[in-house]
């Protein structure tokens, strides 16, 4: 192998090493940058709030309580093991809906809006606008017999 060969080999090696190094490092940098831009956070910023004990609601019963923003939430035990919760604010014009036991429906007295057990608008103005009740996600801890509602984690407030 003569000198030129050797130096061109060295040259080639340097170029390849540089290319691979730069490609990898800036590649990883770009990847981390991309992950930064993707709108996913550490954890869904939700938290569980105590809403009641399973044993405190009979099947078919409704229990109202308030979430962090002060919205009234109607928690209903649908079957032995199924729970549902809806924001009690009518999606039509913001009146308070309530549960009607005899009719097995949610009712808004302002404009006679009617929602079925699953919160689907069935008659009145909400049905015309296809405005269903806003469901609230629940977490059921059967072992402890506790119902939590899942709410957006409040901002980190310094007190």
């Amino acid at each position: 192998m003569d000198e030129t060969d050797k130096s061109s080999r060295r040259d080639w090696l340097a170029t390849v090493a540089m290319g691979v190094g730069l490609g990898l490092s800036y590649g990883v940098f770009a990847l981390e940058g991309l992950l930064f831009l993707l709108p996913r956070q550490i954890k869904a910023r939700t938290r569980n709030l105590f809403a009641g004990k399973i044993s405190q609601i009979r099947v078919g019963g409704v229990r109202p309580f308030f979430d962090l923003e002060g919205n009234e939430i109607l928690l209903r035990r649908k079957t032995e093991r199924e729970f549902q919760a809806f924001n009690s604010t009518c999606p039509h014009l913001g009146c308070k809906i309530h549960w009607e036991e005899e009719e097995q429906r949610y009712f808004c007295p302002c404009h006679r809006g009617v929602f079925d057990v699953d919160g689907k608008a069935v008659s009145g103005p909400p049905a015309d606008g296809n405005q269903n009740l806003t469901p609230v996600p629940l977490q059921i801890d059967e072992a402890a017999g506790v119902i939590y509602i899942e709410v957006k984690a409040a901002s980190r407030r310094r007190t």
């Binding site: 540089m18 190094g21 490092s25 709030l49 004990k53 309580f65 506790v146 409040a154």
Partner: protein
């Protein structure tokens, strides 16, 4: 520098950059794994309370913010909320509230704990009104119109009957523009574990789970129990501190995982030492890889009762409605399904009364079974032989105390009463009554408790030594003296009784050791102290 070398340098730097980026990624993944710290939640329901009380009682609110309750949004009104018409409730800033939070309030969420606690000895701690302890506090130490010794002493551990200030018609007196009912200052504040509450519930969860942070590590710490389980008549905390268990605890507190969320399991979360809670109520691992549930029924694993004059083994009888009674092994057990007259203490018109309730027997747990549950905790660290032999040592001491001192002393005292020497309505009239009282209630308990929890000095010097010294040197002379006070003939009778007792084998040593024993003793002192 030629171009090729420069390229090599660029390559080297690029890899350094890559390495630093990987460090960044590592840092990031470590951060993602870390737990997110949640802030306390003030729900709309509690906003009003917190707004004012953060100013009026800031530390109280801070404590609450420190609690798990606050993390899940359980706040002021959830516990202090009351219904109109309840004796302790008043309308405060638009909500009916009560200052007093009873176990029944806690049971809204903690049902199982309430059920277990309610059938425990702790819940019955307030039912001591008819005991000699109470006589001593209210009569010996107290005076008419001033019950301060009982209020500041007994009741702060045993619990008070919560009473209200009332007018002539029996109506609760209220004060302020919100008409707040006035609680009898003698009965509140009170964090006694057997408190008798106006809603009929017994106990105070706050006794062990101090408000408002309700930190688990507090109730799991031995000091927590030591508030009451201490002193001349039941020095459990001192015995624990003296024991190998206590020594290991204080040295290894940092390894006790006292802050564990949820179940705190011996053999899973910690191993360094057992605390009071560990052996008596907490969860522990079992050989099948599972762990036992903890129980708020504090006496469940106890096989001896070490409190009365004469110790007995304890079986328990559980009735259909969950009510529970301890049956000493000297009392005949009923059959399952039998209906038994049980005695229950309840508060009526702010007074404790006894009530007879027929109940059906659902379950019987023998003292052996109870001991077995306790042994399960021991076996997490010790083997079967070790545990069995420990129980043999412990049992022997209880039997020794029972047979040599407690039973003879009790029999003499019973006879003195039968012979009219002692007046059953004057429990502390004669010297012998005081001596006898301390013999079993202080010294005898110290010896038995000392042996039960491996405190050697409490077993012997604070325990059996005091029992024997006072038995020979104070109790027996005082018996004769009391009898003589009655009549010369009575004095002669009890002199003979004592002589006969001392003639028994176990008491003969008082009149002289055997020649060999005496020689051995002299030799020992000669060798050790050159005397």
């Amino acid at each position: 520098m030629d171009l090729t070398s420069k390229r090599f340098i660029v390559a080297a730097l690029a890899f350094l950059f890559l390495a630093s980026l990987l460090l960044v990624a590592y840092q990031e993944s470590k951060r993602l794994r870390g737990e997110q710290q949640l802030d306390p939640v003030v729900t709309a329901l509690n906003e009003g309370c917190v707004d004012c009380h953060r100013r009026d009682s800031p530390a109280l609110v801070m404590e609450w913010e420190h609690s798990q309750h606050a993390i899940y949004g359980v706040g002021c009104v959830d516990c202090h909320g009351a219904n109109q018409g309840e004796v302790d409730a008043w309308l405060h800033e638009g909500e009916y509230v009560a200052a007093l939070v009873t176990p029944l309030d806690c049971a809204n969420c903690h049902e199982k704990q309430y059920a277990e606690f309610s059938q425990s000895h702790h819940a019955k701690a307030g039912e001591i009104l008819a005991s000699l302890d109470n006589v001593l506090a209210e009569k010996a130490a107290g005076m008419p119109g001033n019950n301060a010794d009982a209020v500041n002493g007994c009741w702060q551990c045993h619990g008070s009957i919560i009473r209200f200030e009332r007018d002539e018609e029996g109506q609760v007196i209220t004060v302020g523009n919100e008409n707040r009912p006035v609680i009898d200052a003698d009965t509140w504040p009170n964090s006694g574990i057997g408190r008798l509450n106006p809603d009929g519930s017994k106990g105070s969860c706050h006794a062990c789970h101090s408000r408002h942070a309700f930190e688990a590590k507090l109730s799991r710490s031995p000091e927590n129990c030591g508030k009451c389980h201490m002193g001349p008549d039941h020095p459990q905390i001192e015995i624990y501190n003296e024991s190998k268990h206590g020594i290991a605890f204080y040295a290894n507190r940092d390894r006790m995982a006292l802050d564990t969320r949820g179940d705190w399991v011996l053999g899973r979360d910690y191993s360094a030492a057992p605390t009071c809670a560990t052996c008596h109520i907490s969860s522990y691992m079992t050989p099948n890889g599972q762990y036992t549930a903890n129980s708020h029924d504090v006496g469940e694993r106890i096989s001896w009762t070490l409190r009365p004059v004469v110790s007995t083994l304890l079986n328990s009888v559980i009735y259909q409605d969950g009510f529970k009674e301890d049956y000493p092994d000297t009392r005949e057990l009923p059959e399952i399904g039998d209906t038994v007259e049980t005695i229950e203490k309840v508060v009526e018109n702010e007074q404790l009364v006894s009530r007879t309730v027929p109940r059906q027997v659902a379950r019987i747990v023998t003292w052996e079974e109870r001991r077995q549950v306790m042994k399960g905790a021991c076996l997490n660290c010790h083997n079967n032989t070790y545990v069995d032999n420990f129980y043999k040592q412990f049992d022997d001491l209880v039997i020794l105390y029972n047979e040599k001192f407690a039973k003879p002393a009790k029999s003499i005292m019973d006879d003195l009463t039968a012979d009219g020497v002692l007046n059953p309505n004057a429990p502390f009239e004669h010297h012998v009554q005081w001596v006898y009282w301390e013999l079993w209630h202080h010294e005898g308990r110290r010896a038995r408790h000392g042996a039960s929890m491996m405190g050697p000095d409490y077993t012997h010097w604070h325990g059996m030594y005091e029992v024997s010294k006072h038995f020979y040197d104070e109790f027996l002379p005082a018996v004769i003296e009391a009898a003589r006070n009655k009549s010369t003939a009575m004095g002669r009778k009890y002199q003979q009784r004592v002589d006969a007792l001392l003639a028994q084998e176990e008491h003969q040593w008082v009149k002289g050791l055997s020649p060999e024993e005496g020689e051995a003793l002299r030799e020992m002192y000669q060798q050790r102290y050159n005397e």
